[in-house]
């Protein structure tokens, strides 16, 4: 599109209220007709998406996935487990 002043990503960030105030004001002031049309499209797509999704169920599913992603307790590195007896049994060198 030739007469677009802002990218889709910027418009997405605008809708997600993720832009700094100055950039937000700039978009509001300088957006072309094509930008505004795209912004309306994105806004209606967002609403349609949220209308068809059960947010509470999604949050529960995310919680379940987070439990699976929980990091396991750290084990001693394998090489260290093999090396540590050798290092311990090695006689100390005299200081130079």
């Amino acid at each position: 599109m030739a007469d677009r002043a802002f990218t889709d990503l910027e418009l997405e960030r605008f809708l997600a209220e993720d832009l700094p105030a100055a950039r937000r004001a700039e978009i509001e002031a300088k957006a072309t007709t094509a930008d505004r049309t795209r912004l309306d499209e994105l806004r209606s797509e967002n609403q349609a998406f949220l209308a068809q999704v059960d947010v509470a169920a999604e949050v529960r599913a995310i919680g379940r996935r987070m439990e699976k992603l929980a990091p396991e307790p750290r084990k001693l590195a394998t090489w260290w487990r093999w090396c540590s007896p050798v290092v311990r049994s090695r006689p100390r060198l005299p200081p130079c």
Binding site: A16, E45, F49, L50, E58, M66
Partner: protein, 157 residues
């Protein structure tokens, strides 16, 4: 923060960012259901290591990056799986037992790439397998024909 409050915060975060992430994932993997799954994965990954992301700019930027990487990973895994499947089919020699549908350009591109990457001997072996299969199908048809004739003959006597 209490569990309820935390849930509300996650719900708020989801409402604010999920549509854009869903669009992003769907544009990469080309499947809306899979994109929904990827959005869940993105939020789970983000929230599981939220402390790590605090100094990495806005939540949107981090979520967008995670979603993009997760989608590319998924696409890569899918490609590897279908490549393995194709290889297994070639090894088993039942390429022609079931017609393989070429659903979209992506599949077509993948198949072409797979063929061009294969060395010529294996391509020859695939061709010869196909020829052998055609031969065996023709032979089985020929074998079926006398039995039909004989059954007809027995009925006439």
């Amino acid at each position: 923060m209490s569990a309820v409050g935390e849930g509300d915060a996650v719900a708020e975060l989801y409402k604010r960012h999920a549509p854009a992430l869903h669009r992003r994932c769907a544009s990469i993997v080309g499947n809306r259901d899979e994109a929904g799954d990827l959005v869940q994965e993105t939020f789970a990954r983000y929230l599981a290591s939220k402390d790590r992301w605090d100094n990495h700019g806005s939540a949107f930027a981090v979520l967008y990056r995670i979603a993009t990487n997760a989608s590319i990973d998924r696409l890569r895994r899918r490609k590897t799986a279908s490549e393995d499947e194709l290889d297994a089919e070639v090894h088993r020699g039942d390429l022609g037992s079931e017609p393989r549908r070429i659903d979209n350009l992506h599949d077509l591109a993948f198949l072409t790439r797979g063929l061009s990457r294969r060395s010529s001997p294996s391509r020859c072996s695939t061709t010869s397998m196909a020829t052998r299969r055609r031969e065996s199908r023709r032979r089985s048809t020929c074998r079926a024909a006398p039995s039909v004739r004989s059954s007809t003959g027995s009925r006439s006597t």
